[in-house]
């Protein structure tokens, strides 16, 4: 997995799912690694329970516009977001889908989908609100945008003092997302090997 030179990311879900936090976290981690970063929220006439989204760009070069037109990756936390953003994704783009809340898989065949039941995994960890970190962990396992340890440092930097006790569960959630993806790809490799030897 090579270092990603420029990632243009859309993160989307319901208001309250920690969409903006995810975006700022990634942005903060990118800054800590000395890269160019921008973050742009959807703003204004949003409705409660509606779609909240943000644009994040992490790049080796100066960033022209913070507005992402053709994302190279998307993290999709609910169904309306999938409907809205799947068509915008660049070819071969990565799309992380929270399959616990999204009622259909990705339709496009020219993108790379990861279906991860982020909300269920977060529930198992004991806090449904860290589903965002599970999804982010899955994203970072696929794309070397920032190092996992920098993402963790960013969590510590961004959580206010009265939320320090949540650092640990955020760390676990990032880790769970990462291992979900890694175990999947291990399965896939094992599947190929076994098929190759005629065992499959």
């Amino acid at each position: 997995m090579g270092r990603v030179q420029q990632e243009r990311l859309i993160i989307a879900g319901f208001g309250g799912q920690g969409i903006m936090f995810m975006g700022k976290l990634l942005c903060c981690a990118g800054m800590l690694e000395g890269r160019h970063v921008t973050y742009m929220p959807s703003y204004g006439a949003e409705v409660r329970g509606g779609t909240a989204y943000c644009n994040v760009i992490v790049s080796d070069e100066e960033i022209p516009s913070p507005v992402v037109a053709e994302p190279t990756a998307a993290i999709i936390m609910n169904t309306p977001s999938l409907i809205k953003f799947e068509p915008m994704l660049a070819k071969k783009g990565l799309i992380i889908i929270n399959s616990a809340l999204v009622d259909r898989p990705a339709k496009r065949r020219d993108v790379e989908p990861i279906h991860i039941p982020a909300t269920n995994i977060a529930d198992r960890l004991g806090n449904t609100r860290v589903a965002n970190m599970v999804a982010l962990g899955a994203f970072l396992a696929k794309r070397d945008v920032v190092q996992m340890q920098t993402a963790l440092a960013a969590v510590e930097e961004m959580l206010p003092p009265y939320r320090r006790h949540l650092v640990e569960i955020n760390r676990q959630a990032l880790g769970e997302g990462k291992s979900f993806v890694e175990s999947r790809s291990a399965d896939a490799i094992w599947g190929k090997i076994t098929r190759g030897f005629g065992f499959g």
Partner: protein, 358 residues
């Protein structure tokens, strides 16, 4: 180096005002600049400053007037419809020669319009906006860091020339988050304000007024103002030229569209087209001479703006008498200008004017 932090443009400009020694914020909420009002409501009390959420923008600009007249650094912020309401007060500030900083985070108009990013208040900002023969200095930042630096500059210029200064940004600039450095970046150049109304015990009273009825007095006042504006034109024009030296196609843009142009420039330079960019940093005074020199070898000029053709008028004035064709990519209506649109406009200019690769 001071530590960088992540802030949206609106928060960063607020903190910059405090760093610049401003202790008076008056404003009324409006998207897309609400973070300013919100930030100031929390931060001003922490530094023993004044925060007033006024009953209207009209009240806000007059509170700024009141603070300025006693010599305090004061700032207000709003977005397009709110800035329209402030125009009377800005004319009074200009007439009374009072320093003040006004931030306009523009949104789509006319009327209430929408909340999308826009540059459609260019005419209003650069042509006066209110009544009377006056000018406001207009700064046009294109990044969160430059927005911060412009807040420092705005307070210094306002004090130096005793004139209102406007910072003209758009919704993207107000909302976007970038790493930014604020503390320690401002070298304070505070000047004593002998003209301020601070109580006249032991000295002759100061007068600050814009009602001037004596015969020829207003004429004289206007002549002095014009003389001051000429000095500002001489001393304060600012701009940036990117690879303009050998450019056959010169892009002209300010604010966030200039960033989109910069990316397009890189792309077309890689394809060996001689594309350059001229970015006015002060919109008034407009850096005409610098533009004329940047466009020296240009065979075509392409003006890119998030409005229907306002910046292009200053470009035409600056290049008057030159045979170079001036094209427009203007996107009004509070919609973001996309990179693909700029690329397409450049392609069109290349084929229309027969520009060749080198």
């Amino acid at each position: 180096m001071a530590k960088k932090s992540l802030m949206c443009g609106n928060e960063a400009l607020s903190e910059a005002a405090i760093e610049a020694g401003c202790r008076c914020y008056f404003g009324y909420p409006i998207t897309p600049q609400n973070e300013v009002t919100s930030y100031m409501s929390r931060r001003m009390p922490e530094v023993n400053g004044q925060f007033v959420q006024s009953e209207s923008e009209l009240a806000a600009i007059n509170m700024v007037f009141g603070a300025a007249v006693v010599g305090a650094r004061a700032i207000t912020s709003s977005s397009s419809p709110g800035i329209s309401l402030m125009q009377e007060g800005i004319s009074y500030l200009a007439g009374c020669e009072l320093p003040a900083v006004i931030v306009n985070i523009m949104r789509g108009g006319p009327g209430l319009g929408n909340i999308g990013p826009s540059q459609a208040d260019y005419f209003q900002a650069t042509r006066g906006g209110g009544h009377g023969d006056y000018r406001t200095i207009v700064l046009a930042p294109s990044s969160v860091q430059e927005l911060v630096d412009h807040v420092f500059l705005a307070f210094d210029l306002a004090d130096k020339y005793r004139n209102p200064v406007m910072i003209l940004g758009d919704g993207v600039l107000g909302q976007m988050v970038e790493p930014v450095e604020i503390a320690g970046r401002h070298v304070a150049r505070r000047q004593a304000k002998e003209w301020a109304l601070t109580g006249c015990r032991g000295r002759a009273p100061n007068k600050v007024r814009s009602l001037i009825l004596g015969e020829n007095e207003l004429l004289e006042h206007n002549r002095r103002l014009q003389e001051k504006y000429r000095q500002i034109e001489e001393g304060e024009m600012r701009s940036e030229a990117v690879e303009a030296g050998d450019a056959e196609l010169l892009l002209v843009a300010y604010g966030t569209p200039s960033r989109t142009c910069r990316a397009a420039l890189r792309e077309f330079r890689q394809r060996r087209y001689r594309v350059g960019l001229f970015r006015p940093v002060t919109l008034w005074p407009f850096p005409s001479a610098a533009l004329a020199s940047a466009a020296k070898d240009a065979r075509a000029v392409l003006v890119v703006e998030m409005s229907a053709g306002q910046l292009i008028e200053d470009v035409r004035l600056s290049l008057a008498g030159r045979a170079v064709p001036i094209d427009l990519l203007g996107k009004p209506g509070g919609e973001v200008l996309q990179g693909a649109e700029v690329d397409a406009a450049i392609e069109k200019a290349i084929s229309m004017h027969g520009l060749k690769r080198r």
